[in-house]
Each structure stands twice: as structure tokens, then as C-alpha cells.
Symmetry: C2
Subunit: 343 residues, 2 copies
């Protein structure tokens, strides 16, 4: 268990976290204790190319510093996180799916030059995991597996303050573990068969719903679609909440797949805690569907994991929401350039 | 890449590695550079209880020191490794399957008292991985996944000189990752369904062979069994070598399952190197079947892993054989009590 300390949680040193996504760039100043002091969001405008995007990024970053009532001189270091694939040691994007104009961009050094700060670089899901590990739901544990559920399935693994980023920057890409070796479900982007993402990601949920409807399954969602509603995870969740049997089964199947992937990680990493975050968490603990979703995951773990792991591993929802990325980015900045480890 | 150094590889400090198995206990003195200087083997005699086994262990350990022409005073620390499940921080065995008389034994402290040395404790597969990482095939890399193929499937994961031993001493237990979530094949001991071990371990290979024969498949192995040969992985391998189609398919299916598990670990750990060791490696590189076995694993990786990982990850056979355990045990002793890390 980490020593959480008891100092003033908003004092310096200060770190600037920057979370670049395909649509938005979130920036925030974070104290050395992991407390966010400001938050800004600007557009990435990927289609306009990286020069525009990086100008927006710089503006958002400087606004975040101002909003925290600090000067850029107060910032020790910057943490920059982006979607993969990337070359983390080189500070370079490779071929992120939603940002074709940014391919092969040496983004870390470009940001470092614009802001005049040493800049740490990390994968966005790894950084979100690190945010939860540093300052969120996992702040008292020594090891964490963090799943982020959205269009795809991201993952971040932390063991003893070390992010498992891999020898080729593909560590913790656990959306791509194989859960059904003979399965034909494919990832729409990579073509990989039988992976967790091919079954449990948002787009896979929508695909499975579409297939069930095409196969003639009864569902209240049919009439919603007929009057123009778009088939989304949110729509499926709404109908599951209202008691639709098909939609409920689709959501619970998603939990089953994630439970299987979670068991595999318990037998690989055996972390102290496992967290679920991201957009597709079905209302989390405060909603009945979110509770049943987590309960189902835990049921699979009870059934299929080693009893010691099933009994002792904490499984819960993440708490930092969309801020986990920039907070974790700041944590990476502190780890790389702040002189000490986080714990 | 680690700095392998260039000092005299047989000079002190010296560490004593002890690898306890259900049948034998192997001991050896190892230099601070990872070179084994002696090797002894004594019987565990599990059925006679731990007092007898520990007396044998002490005898084997002291013989190893003598054989190395050293005195026990020359030994800095001892590394002790055993099968799991275990509580690594507590130095205690829990319920190792083949050693019922040793259940709940505080084995680390008992050994430490007998030999009068600080004693590090580790899982045997993790230690074998650490042996290869320190002094074997993986000595020049920074991260390793090591599979050990035998009755069961063991695994050890090393990242930056850290063994992934887990928060509950169940880290790197990757024989128990789920590769076929709907699969009915069960682990005979734990009852876990769809795990890698349920498909690819030695006993699973024998089971699959038995099923194929019962289903009427033609094979030269039938007549061998009819005249009294025991159905073992070795027998299956021999017939595969001689061109029997069924036996060859059973061996290549084993490679396919291991390839799937390997892809999952490439997308989780993304190590620099992946090694296969243990008794069931089909003659390794020097035999045609061993070559085809590894080739099949690599083919699955080429097909199903991220291209960067498939291209850059080294996949090979381990080289230390049955000595990996005591060498790795000595490495753990050095890491815990030798003052510096291995690299």
C-alpha cells in the first residue's frame, strides 16, 4: 500500500498534463500531489493538420496555466499523452486511426519546443491508468489494471509505479488479447480475430445488437430505431434499464466478455485492484444497470479466477472520468522529470 | 539492452540457488555473474514429510558449496524456489499439488535457519524465467516472457529486472489465461475451463490424442499402444517425427494454442523476447519437430499479433534447461540480498 502523505495537496511543484484525442485536447495543471488546479479543452481539428492542432494545444495549455493563476515558469514539466500506436521512447506518433494527418509526427519534441519544458510522452490509456493510480480510485494500491471502455477497449497496467508500456510501445494493449481463439468476430480496424475488443467494445455491442435484430429477436429497441433513433450503446443501455430482455442480455454478455479478459489479467499481472472507466460503463455504480454490469463481471471472476485472486482483488469503477488522462499525463511528467516517484 | 559486463564470470560474491520440486531438489552455487559453479540433486521424499525433505535439502546445499570448493561463509545469500501456490512475501507454501505434506509450511525461514543465510523466496517458473533473463538466452534483453512446458504450463514474466509476481503471488500464472471462453476443456486440478493449460499442457496433449483415437482416427501410435507403450507426449512426438499425421497435427495444434497465448502476452506485456523451455519442447531447435513446433508458434504470431510486435519480438527456445530454476533462484538471492540489481 502506498503512503498517501498528508501535505498540502495543492502546493507546488506543478505539472501540466495534456491529453490529445481525435476530437479534443484537454489540458490541466496538476499539483505534485495529484490535485487538478485547472482544466481547459480545445479542438484538435485533425483534418486541418498538426500545425493548427499544435497551435490549439499550446493555447489550451497556456490557458490552463493562467486559469491556475500560475506562470509558465511555475511548471516543472509537461506530460503529453495521445492515442497509439506510437513509439514512446522516440516521442513519435505512428499511425493513430483517427488522426491520419498526424501520422509519424515527432509530437513530444514539437510540444516541448512550443512550451519550453521537458516533456514526458505516454499512451492515453496508460496515462489514464496512471491518473487513477496516482490520484484516483487506486491511489492506495501498488498495482492496477485499468480498463477503459469506449469505441475500442483501452487498458493500462501499473506495477509498483511502473507503467507496463512494452518493449515496442504495445504493452497494456489488452483490448487485443485473444479470448476466443476459434472465434470469427473481427476487429474492424486491425482484422484481428477473437480479441476482447471484437466482442466487448461499443461498436461490437452495436454489431451484436444489429445481428440479434436481424435474426428476429424481439426488443423494444426496434420501434425506437424505426422512428429514427440511432443504434448506440447508450440506446441499448436505456432499453436495458427499462427492462428490455434482449438489450439487457447484450449488456450482460459484454460484462461476461470483460470478466473473461479480467481473469486472464488476474492470472498474468495479479494486480491489487482492477478498475473500469471510459464512456461505456453503463451509468456506473449510481445506476442499477451499472451495478448489475459490475456484479456480472465479478461473478465471472468468482467462477473462473484462482480463489485467492477472486477473494482479494478489488474490482470497481474508476472515479476520475474524462480527467484521468491529463491528470495521469501530469503524473508521467512528475515521474520522468519531477525528481521522485509518485508514491 | 542490458550491459552484460566483462568481469571474471566465476568470481565472488557467491549465491546458493535451491530449486525444490515434487521429486528432486536441485542446488547449485552461482557466481555474481550468473555462472553455475556446482550442481547437486537430492530426493524430496515428500511422502516422508518436510523434516526429511529439509534435511535432504540441507545436505544437497552443503554438498553444492563443497563441490564449488567454497565454505558456507563464502555464500552471501540463498535463493529458494518452489512450486506454487505460495505466499511469496510471507515465505510460505500454500497448497502445492504434488507436495501435500508440505502444505502451509513456512519454508523460507526454515531453510534460512538451517543454512544460516538470508534467503529469498520465489515461484519456480518465475525463477526459471529469471535464470534465463540473468544468465541464459535472454541475458541481453530488458523484458522477457518465459513459458515452461510440462505436465502443466508455467510462465514467468520479467520487466526491467522485476519479476511480475503479483499482489497475491499469482502473477505470471499464464498457463491459466483463458484462450477459449466458451470452451469446455477443463484443467484436471482446478476445474478452470478454456485455459491455455487445458489445451496445451502435456496431459492435455495426451487427452486430445486419446480422444482422437477413440473417435477412430488412423495413427501409427495405435499399434505402439497395443504392444504396451504408455501414451506420453514423448511417444506422440516420436510418431510425429516419423511422419504420423495425427500425431503431427496434435503437436502442431499444441503450438497453435501456445501461439494464441503468446499473442495475448505480446499485447499485455509486449516483451523484448519470448522463450519456450521445459520438458515438452519437442527436441528444441536441434530436432526437425522442434523446429516446426517453433515455426508454427511464430506463424500464429505473424498472423494475429500487432505487426510491430510480430516483427520485432524475438521468439526462441530457452537454453538453461533444468538448471534455469536454481540459477534463477541464485539470481533472486542476489537481487534481494546482493546489494545491486542484476543488470
Amino acid at each position: 500500500m502506498k503512503d498517501s502523505g498528508s501535505a498540502d495537496t495543492t502546493s507546488g511543484p506543478y505539472f501540466l498534463g495534456i491529453d490529445v484525442g481525435g476530437t479534443n485536447i484537454k489540458c490541466g495543471v496538476v499539483s505534485g500531489e495529484g490535485t487538478p488546479l485547472s482544466k481547459t479543452s480545445v479542438k484538435t481539428e485533425t483534418e486541418a493538420g498538426p500545425d493548427v492542432g499544435l497551435a490549439n494545444l499550446e493555447q489550451g495549455a497556456r490557458q490552463a496555466v493562467e486559469q491556475a493563476k500560475l506562470s509558465i515558469d511555475d511548471i516543472v514539466a509537461v506530460g503529453l499523452v495521445t492515442p497509439g500506436p506510437m513509439d514512446i521512447p522516440e516521442g513519435r506518433l505512428l499511425t493513430p486511426a483517427n488522426m491520419p494527418e498526424w501520422h509519424d509526427l515527432p509530437v513530444r519534441d514539437l510540444v516541448s519546443e512550443r512550451l519550453g519544458k521537458p516533456t514526458a510522452f505516454q499512451n492515453d490509456a496508460n496515462a489514464a491508468a496512471y491518473g487513477e493510480f496516482w490520484a484516483g480510485q487506486a491511489k492506495d494500491v501498488d498495482s492496477l489494471v485499468y480498463w477503459t471502455l469506449g469505441t475500442g477497449i483501452g487498458c493500462g497496467i501499473i506495477v509498483n509505479d511502473m507503467i507496463i508500456q512494452g518493449a515496442h510501445s504495445h504493452g497494456s494493449e489488452c483490448g487485443h488479447i485473444i479470448v476466443d481463439m476459434d472465434g470469427d468476430r473481427q476487429h474492424p480496424g486491425t482484422g484481428q480475430r477473437g480479441t476482447l475488443e471484437a466482442y466487448a467494445a461499443a461498436r461490437a455491442l452495436v454489431t451484436r445488437c444489429r445481428e440479434a435484430l436481424a435474426a428476429g429477436r424481439a426488443s423494444s429497441i426496434r420501434s425506437a430505431i424505426k422512428v429514427g433513433a440511432e443504434l448506440t450503446p447508450k440506446l441499448i443501455a436505456d432499453h436495458a434499464e427499462r427492462g428490455d430482455r434482449l438489450c439487457d442480455q447484450l449488456v450482460m454478455d459484454t460484462a461476461m466478455y470483460l470478466g473473461v479478459g479480467t481473469v486472464t489479467l488476474m492470472h498474468t499481472i495479479d494486480p491489487e485492484m482492477i478498475l473500469f472507466g471510459g464512456a461505456m460503463t453503463f451509468g456506473r455504480n449510481d445506476a442499477p444497470l451499472g451495478q448489475r454490469f459490475l456484479h456480472k463481471i465479478k461473478g465471472v471472476v468468482q467462477e473462473r479466477a484462482f480463489p485467492t485472486c477472486a477473494e482479494k482483488t478489488e474490482i470497481d469503477y474508476a472515479t476520475l472520468g474524462g480527467d484521468a488522462g491529463f491528470i495521469g499525463a501530469a503524473g508521467c511528467a512528475k515521474q520522468a522529470h519531477g525528481g521522485t516517484s509518485l508514491s
